[in-house]
């Protein structure tokens, strides 16, 4: 099963490598990983999406906790939480489908962040399903390039930490 794990870590060089090395060295897979500074620049927040049976997920969280630079690990999958990711998608529609692209972007609350004569670059934010749906709609229209951020996640207020 897929799990989303968030971590509060020391904002030091080498931390990312410790975490990615732990995953590769022990044969765990990473579906996505994102890192950013927290309000306190001494710490970063990481979100990893991984998969495995219960025993593997238990090992992963324990192994992450064991790293000296990792302060706190939460498997948010177990709790009510909000997940978001963002996609930047550059489409190259035929002239007659340009309007369709803009209206779909509107439905998905996307924003056009760049445009040229024959392309639009659209930003869409949401949970994974929403992003997938938007990507699926754009595919037949003609995707030139696509980047996804990977997930970030936060617990809903009142959820045990």
């Amino acid at each position: 099963m897929r799990h989303t794990i968030t971590m509060l870590v020391e904002n030091k060089f080498g931390v990312l490598s410790r975490i990615s090395g732990l995953f590769s060295g022990r044969g765990y897979n990473i579906e996505s990983l994102s890192v950013g500074e927290t309000m306190d620049p001494a710490y970063s927040q990481m979100t990893v999406v991984t998969s495995g049976d219960d025993l593997i997920i238990e090992q992963i969280t324990k192994q992450l906790n064991k790293l000296v630079d990792v302060i706190k690990v939460t498997d948010v999958t177990e709790f009510e939480h909000v997940e978001r990711e963002m996609v930047l998608i550059k489409v190259k529609p035929k002239a007659e489908r340009k309007a369709e692209v803009l209206s779909l972007a509107g439905i998905f609350r996307g924003r056009v962040v760049d445009s040229s004569e024959d392309t639009y670059t659209i930003e869409v934010t949401g949970d994974e399903k929403k992003i997938d749906a938007f990507v699926n709609l754009m595919t037949p229209i003609g995707i030139k390039e696509l980047v996804r951020t990977g997930k970030v996640a936060i617990l809903r207020e009142g959820m045990k930490k």
């Binding site: 870590v9 020391e10 080498g14 090395g21 732990l22 064991k66 790293l67 000296v68 302060i71």
Partner: protein
């Protein structure tokens, strides 16, 4: 007053109570070595290879429980430490390894003798540091010693760029350290311990498996108290040897691939298995789904990742063995009805029967020296009062099987990584820590050649380590597998009679002795161990055909053991016994 980084380094070692370090010099650590030239507090033992330095520090640490310290140069000096560091990590040995590094401005430039040692050792250290500013040096050293020696111990590496050790700052020894993400848990959960107590009271056929963690924790007394009170037999893993006296009636010796028949039988038949500081290594469990099939499993371990890693656990207790046992023993004492002896009677007599059925044994010979005989003689002559280090292979297993260890930290062996070449430098470290003890390396003719250069270190530092080479002319353990599982195709395992170990010893100004017949074993040992006060190589020319038994083939359940049936069946034949 401002101190240089090199001076701060020495100050920190003094504060940590370090008297000896092992090392090897080079370009970027010249200034640190200059500080060590006439330092009275910290003495550096120059080894002949950086790998030897790390293993020696490791032996020092295993013999004392205190962290071993290493100082080497950048590049090749640093990369030469990697095997030693990985070895210490696998066996949870506290080390602090300092490596020189090129100046910070040159890092990443492929500078002369630059190696990304922090990157290289990230997966095989407990933690590592690159110090970028001399102002961070003291706190980093303090953190490193704390991390190395607390919780589940392990090696920590500190990379020291040249400009950091040359740079100056005010020396401040920090009172406290931060480490928000590092908080080992020593006290076990009371409720879980109560569960364990309840399981013990319920059980009829309980067995304790004590491991390296029982020794690290210093839980010998508490373990003995538990075993004797609740009448539970104890088997000790290779790393746990000495945690429970092997001469004790309740001792089952070692479990696993080359463990005793009765230890493996007891585990397989048990209704309760209590794991104390052991991590269910595959050499111990054999086929995991067939391991201890009838047992409720209680596991006490300070490292949560050791729990439920490869074996299901019914009662997990995260904590220090000694502290958990202290609480557990108290619970059992207050609740027990004093009927343990009656409850365990049938179980213990079953175990006695297994012990009688298949004790550890070999076929003595009057013509050729049996390697097991050499180990037995060592035990007899030392009366068990020695520190035994081992190399890796058959020699290691025989040293584990045929000598009886009654005290912790008297058996020093590379368990997890199985590093040939570990035993001899480790013995040098152990001898430095215990100058008055008899320290013996039980060696193979292959392994000893992996760090044989350290004989110079032993001779020059007057560390009278005794090496008993079980010379079978082969990489014996590999040959054994080829004989049993590869149709006797002895591919690249022959070592011949080169070198002449007696002459090698003499070339290093040590003493070399040789025994070729069983009758020569005792005189050689008596002279080598007790009369000569120098390092000695004792070359025992042993029967190359000997194999280590019992043996559980890789991946089989641990009660599927092979024995040498030569005696019973005349023909040289092996039989699997369930």
């Amino acid at each position: 007053m401002k101190l240089t980084g090199a001076e701060i380094f020495i100050e920190c070692l003094k504060r940590e109570g370090v008297k000896h370090i092992f090392g090897y010099p080079g370009g970027v650590v010249l200034n640190i070595f200059d500080m060590l030239y006439d330092n009275k507090d910290v003495k550096l033992i120059l080894t002949r290879h950086e790998q030897g330095a790390v293993h020696a520090a490791d032996g020092y640490a295993r013999a004392t429980g205190k962290p071993g310290v290493v100082l080497v140069t950048s590049g090749p000096g640093a990369t030469n430490t990697v095997t030693g560091i990985a070895n210490a990590a696998m066996d949870s040995v506290p080390l602090v390894v300092f490596t020189g590094q090129v100046p910070t401005v040159l890092i990443g430039n492929d500078a002369f003798q630059e190696a990304d040692i922090v990157g290289i050792t990230r997966p095989c250290t407990k933690h590592n540091f690159l110090v970028k500013d001399v102002n961070d040096l003291a706190v980093t050293v303090k953190e490193a010693f704390h991390i190395a020696s607390s919780g589940r111990p392990g090696p920590v590496l500190i990379d020291l760029p040249k400009d950091v050790t040359v740079g100056k700052t005010e020396f401040v020894w920090p009172e406290k350290i931060g480490l928000a993400g590092y908080k080992p848990k020593y006290e076990g959960n009371k409720w879980m311990i109560a569960q364990a107590a309840a399981e013990i009271q319920k059980s009829k056929k309980a067995v304790i498996v004590a491991g390296g963690g029982a020794i690290i924790s210093g839980a010998t007394k508490e373990l003995k108290e538990l075993a004797e009170m609740a009448q539970i037999p104890v088997t000790t893993t290779l790393m746990g040897i000495g945690a429970f006296p092997e001469t004790h009636k309740l001792s089952l010796g070692m479990p696993g691939m080359h463990g005793t028949y009765y230890a493996n039988k007891a585990i397989q038949e048990a209704d309760l298995l209590i794991a104390l500081g052991m991590r269910f290594d595959d050499r111990v469990t054999g086929k995991t789904d067939a391991f201890a099939p009838n047992a409720t499993i209680v596991q006490v371990d300070i490292d949560p990742t050791s729990i439920r890693k490869n074996i299901r656990v019914d009662v997990p207790v995260v904590g220090d063995v000694k502290r958990v046992l202290t609480v557990l023993n108290k619970m059992l004492k207050s609740e027990a009805k004093g009927q343990w002896t009656a409850v365990r009677k049938a179980w213990l007599s079953q175990i006695d029967q297994w012990k009688a059925e298949r004790p550890l044994s070999y076929n003595p010979d009057s013509e050729v020296i049996k390697p097991q005989f050499v180990v037995e003689k060592i035990y007899e002559l030392t009366k068990g009062d020695a520190i035994i280090c081992t190399e890796v292979g058959q020699n290691q297993m025989w040293a584990a099987q045929f000598y009886k260890y009654d005290k912790p930290r008297t058996f020093i062996s590379s368990g997890g990584l199985g590093t040939m070449g570990f035993g001899f430098p480790a013995a040098i470290g152990a001898q430095l820590a215990h100058p008055d003890k008899l320290v013996i390396d039980v060696a193979g003719d292959g392994s000893i050649q992996m760090n044989i250069q350290e004989l110079a270190t032993a001779v020059i530092n007057k560390l009278p380590v005794k090496v008993a080479i079980l010379n079978n002319g082969f990489l014996g353990m590999v040959r054994q597998w080829q004989e049993l599982f590869y149709g006797e195709r002895y591919s690249h395992v022959g070592l011949d009679v080169v070198p002449d170990f007696v002459k090698v010893a003499e070339a290093y100004n040590a003493v070399g002795l040789r025994a070729k017949k069983p009758s020569e074993v005792e005189p050689v040992l008596k002279e080598g161990l007790f009369k000569i006060k120098k390092p000695v190589f004792m070359d025992f020319v042993v029967d190359w055909r000997e194999k280590v038994f019992p043996m559980v083939p890789a991946g089989a359940p641990i009660d599927h053991m092979l024995f040498d049936e030569k005696k019973q069946e005349k023909k040289h034949k092996l039989r699997a016994v369930k």
